[in-house]
Symmetry: C2
Subunit: 658 residues, 2 copies
């Protein structure tokens, strides 16, 4: 039985939910395939996540390994393959709660960086899980700056081996997943030395545990780095190497090889490899960022129509909390951003597919733009979505704070996406470097990549909006975003040049501009996101109310961005104070409009109760019942030894009846 | 041995750290007393927190009970009393990791709401821990809106008893600390019925567990609500009552009594009781908000001078990450806000002490202002500090994400302060209601409380700053903050009146203004904080460099607030675009100035390594060593059954040597 407060929300949907789901999936056939995968995974008790909020880190690890091994069988059973249409839905259906994710990175790095011979040797074994791989790049003292890695691999001509060492504690490998307890092998990144000369960072396959009894190999110190904010299921590990010898053939040698006599040979273009690194940043957006953001919106919005608190109108019953303007203002912009990021992700995926085809034709022209976009969007989307999930959590008050709401785990996990695969600030500065370069080129009349052609046009003028309805025009707000991006990029470029012309060293001038460079990079990505959302809406079919509701969300996303950052738009008077009051009015009006469709809009994400794993977010909205039933299963409801040890001696002498 | 990268930071302090510590403590004698308490607590192994990041919820609970019982002995041993000068340092020294905190609330509610007879009966037993109390107000379906509580207490004249019931699941008590597993008694808030008439919410003492064997009393269903984002040590509980009978004497009856014949008598003034509720919001700021904020700043700033990453200047060694402008911009404003909130907390404490004296003299005039200030500042300080701790966590990259950094626990705990003791949005709207009322009064020429007299003066004009140095003048920026607060309050008041004059119902008009009302309330509190910081600095002695560095921090706090919220200041042109560029320049300049004293400024908070409990924040800065040593103790470094069960069957058939 569905909670009537939730059921009533579904009766008044202004659009067809099933059609919107199909749009999000990329077609009704995709929806069908996804649902079949979800059904197969979630009906299998081995994949159950129901106990996860009660489990220790050890129990989570154990379960993740069990699931990974079982998944191999399941795929065989179901006829699913790594290249099949089902594959992308499996991870999502498991909510990422499975071991051997780094094993996959191990395989990918061999496929990309290894010679044909190396691929032929290692990939079949890895595919069958007859060894377990990891990927050991990050060190205790080194993350973003790869050149700073300290692990060494010295070539010994006499034995035709590399000798690997961890010269000091900051060089210890730290964080690699699957390495703390599972892996038998890993790809170690180390500074290559031949005849005392350093050739920089190269990848080496190193066995770290015995295949017979799983004991550590000679010279290896390894273990688990202990508790983290999330990822309990993953055995992130540490690794120290002491005179570990590996054969010459274990250096991955598609691009670089050390010949038997110690000659170092570089071959082929590494550009395809850089491209692979940028695609990882794009591919994580969907699984690691959008899915949790959509789940958080689903949970918080369903809860907000079931939770009643205080009276809006005297004499009536307590109001649904989503009827309060402040609650709408918390949640609905996050919902709009989930859609905005879904569409920009589609755009980026297409762009990268096109880039891949170009690169295969040896055309590397798109690389700088793709690198800048992948860096900037990874940073902006992870940052914004992390903040959004936190807002959803807080908007559910005390119940959001219970692990059983599902929100704390979503938050603590998505937070990591701001740090891994490139720390966000570093990435934004990469984007900024590209933007400044393009701005200079554009100013000098040189051609620039498509996404930044707006930097070439002369900008001036004021926003032409005359009343609050004008701000529901995509041209009006897209232009405003473009104006701000242009202003921030050009003014920071000017500051940079001023500093250099006043005698500052280039690196110093750069550092003094970085706070503003980060702002400029964010503004650029925000502009592209708004523009893409508006263009996407334009192309949607008008049937079934889809285009209309998407237009509202696009407007809300754009106006929320202006409302939350008014200074950027007011600064040079592009938007006047009177116009800003119109923005505010339109923005607040939109909240009330979208509130009516809020539940259908999250229903369209089509999460099952099992994938939400939340007492607040279930489809039926039976929140209180679920919290109570679930809490009773907590191990904290077993008798504690604290009573016999500490409480009994205190209480036993009190009068028995007070 | 102190890490030389950290040691060098201490050699160049521009002020005397010990003098600043004494200033923060309120005098050198207080520092001495505090350190003695810290030493006594932290040298006692029972109070150790070293294992806490590895422990399960059950283990944390067990340890917290052990500590609470041991603390009672310790206090006796040390001659510490609840009214002694040491008392306020004990909780801080334990980092709150102790049971029976709600037992203290149980005692306070009896002291405040109970008759003399009730106090004489219950308080001695509770003081000696011969019973364990809790405080059961919040229900599954009811938090902020007390009138909505559904638990009932029906008076039965025949037996002179109250019959307590949980009429439906949403009425189940949910969240009370110490209730899940420990409490024998609790104060239950329930709707009082006499002869079928409801008299509203009243407090009742109810025994829930046997004093003989701790089994649940007849009619009681109770247990632990399960895992939360933090507070593992606390047994937050649930409670259902089914025809539970308690004697008439168990209704707390200082203000209201039910006489044997069922006559309901209200006596005395409850105002002092409301006052007690507002003081709780102020008292939590110091322990639950400022301390974690200061700890997070200490950890992140010490780490940022030890962590070197990438090169700032080509050819040199990798730079300390605190030398990057972006890192300064993350951390130093948080440091400034820790000081700003410390000083506003002093101001609020004084104000409330004065308020208490007035109220004892039956003068209740200050109550509305105190209520508004306590609500607003609780919300603003908890919100800002939670965001600050999160920034500190992220600024430490991957290592900040490890529980061993201490930052995740600080974050997940401080986050709760945004929700408990009044959800922040609700509180800000209370403040806003007061501000609107005062604005109306001021506009009508009526007198208003001291903190809002600025609403009476006519505001106009522009910011007079001529260059970036002018923005280091407290008069200039304080005036700007006042201007913004005035503008937001007055414009929202105008919108509210417009809506009502256009025929909107009052409650509807209010709801349509709440997003802006929240902004207005925040602006008011921000203004008072800046003003108080500037006035405090003015009064400091100029010796030992203290005043100078505090002036820098005050400037930074104020300019960061403008820089982060430029729109509010630009909106009506009070600050022009050219002036805003000066603000930005001054703000960025200040970062470089304060960066030099960053480590001494956190050293002044005077946390011991044990109280930080962080691998990144230790006084000696031996970060990597500590992470490695600590991680090895993790239970995840024991052999997992996953190997025998799942991995061995896979790996055993692989070639032994690859």
């Amino acid at each position: 039985s569905v909670n009537p407060d939730l059921a009533s929300e579904r009766q008044t949907a202004s659009f067809c939910v099933e059609k919107l789901t199909a749009l999000l999936d990329g077609g009704a056939e995709q929806t069908r395939i996804r649902r079949a995968v979800v059904e197969a995974i979630q009906s299998d008790p081995v994949f159950s996540r129901e106990d996860q909020y009660f489990q220790t880190q050890n129990e989570r690890y154990e379960a993740a390994v069990r699931k990974a091994v079982h998944l191999q069988k399941k795929m065989h059973e179901m006829g699913w393959t790594e290249n099949g249409p089902e594959y992308k839905y499996i991870y999502r259906a498991l909510s990422g709660d499975v071991a051997f994710l780094l094993h996959r990175v191990f395989m990918r790095s061999i496929s990309v960086l290894g010679s044909d011979k190396q691929i032929a040797k290692w990939i079949p074994l890895a595919t069958q899980l007859r060894l377990i791989g990891s990927y050991a790049q990050t060190e205790l003292g080194h993350g973003t700056y790869l050149q700073g890695l300290e692990t060494t691999a010295v070539f010994d001509i006499a034995t035709q081996e590399f000798i690997l060492n961890t010269p000091k504690i900051s060089a210890m490998k730290w964080w690699p997943g699957d390495m703390g307890r599972s892996a038998t092998h890993t790809v170690v990144f180390a500074q290559l030395y031949i005849h005392g000369k350093c050739y920089g960072i190269h990848p080496f396959i190193v066995q770290i545990r015995s295949l017979q009894d799983h004991s550590l190999c000679p010279g290896i110190t390894a273990g688990d780095i202990g508790p983290k904010m999330n990822f309990e299921a993953i055995d992130n590990g540490y690794l120290m190497l002491k005179n570990v010898r590996i054969p010459r053939e274990n250096m991955l040698s598609k691009f670089c090889e050390v010949q038997p006599d110690g000659t170092y040979v570089r071959q082929g273009s590494q550009k395809i490899n850089y491209f692979t690194m940028t695609t990882v940043r794009i591919s994580l957006i969907s699984d690691e960022v959008l899915t949790p953001l959509m789940k958080a919106c689903t949970i918080a919005i369903r809860y907000s129509v079931v939770r009643r608190q205080s009276k809006l109108k005297p004499g009536e019953q307590e109001a649904k909390i989503l009827d309060y303007q402040t609650q709408q203002e918390k949640l609905l912009p996050q919902l709009a951003s989930a859609y905005a990021f879904h569409f920009i992700n589609d755009y980026l995926q297409e762009l990268f597919d096109r880039g891949y085809r170009e690169i295969q034709r040896k055309n590397f022209d798109m690389l700088p733009e793709l690198h800048a976009l992948s860096s900037g969007f990874k940073a902006v989307i992870t940052h914004h979505s992390t903040a959004a999930v936190e807002i959803c959590l807080r908007a559910c008050g005390g119940h959001g704070y219970s692990l059983l709401s599902g929100l704390p785990s979503l938050y603590t996990k998505i937070l990591a996406s701001c740090i891994y695969e490139g720390e966000n600030t570093i990435l934004l500065l990469q984007t900024a470097r590209f933007l400044i370069k393009c701005f200079m080129a554009a100013s000098a009349g040189q051609p620039v990549p498509p996404s930044v052609t707006y930097l070439a046009a002369v900008k001036s003028g004021k926003c032409p909006a005359k009343n609050k309805l004008d701000f529901l025009s995509p041209d009006i707000y897209t232009e405003a975003y473009q104006h701000v991006a242009f202003r921030l990029i050009s003014s920071t470029a000017a500051k940079l040049q001023d500093l250099i012309q006043s005698g500052a060293k280039k690196y110093n001038a750069w550092n003094q501009c970085t706070v503003q460079l980060v702002q400029a990079a964010k503004a650029h990505c925000h502009y592209i996101t708004v523009k893409n959302f508006a263009e996407t809406v334009e192309k949607l079919e008008t049937k079934a109310g889809i285009q209309r509701i998407m237009k509202h969300l696009c407007d809300l996303f754009a106006l929320h961005g202006i409302f939350s950052n008014t200074g950027a738009f007011l600064h040079d008077g592009y938007i006047s104070a009177a116009q800003m009051d119109m923005v505010t009015a339109s923005y607040l009006d939109l909240l009330a409009v979208i509130r009516k469709d809020a539940v259908p809009l999250v229903d369209a994400f089509d999460f099952t109760d099992k994938s939400l794993n939340s007492a607040l977010g279930s489809y039926d909205g039976q929140v209180y019942q679920r919290l109570y039933e679930w809490a009773q299963k907590s191990p904290t409801n077993k008798m504690s030894p604290a009573y016999e040890r500490y409480l009994k001696p205190l209480l036993h002498n009190t009068l028995s009846k007070l």
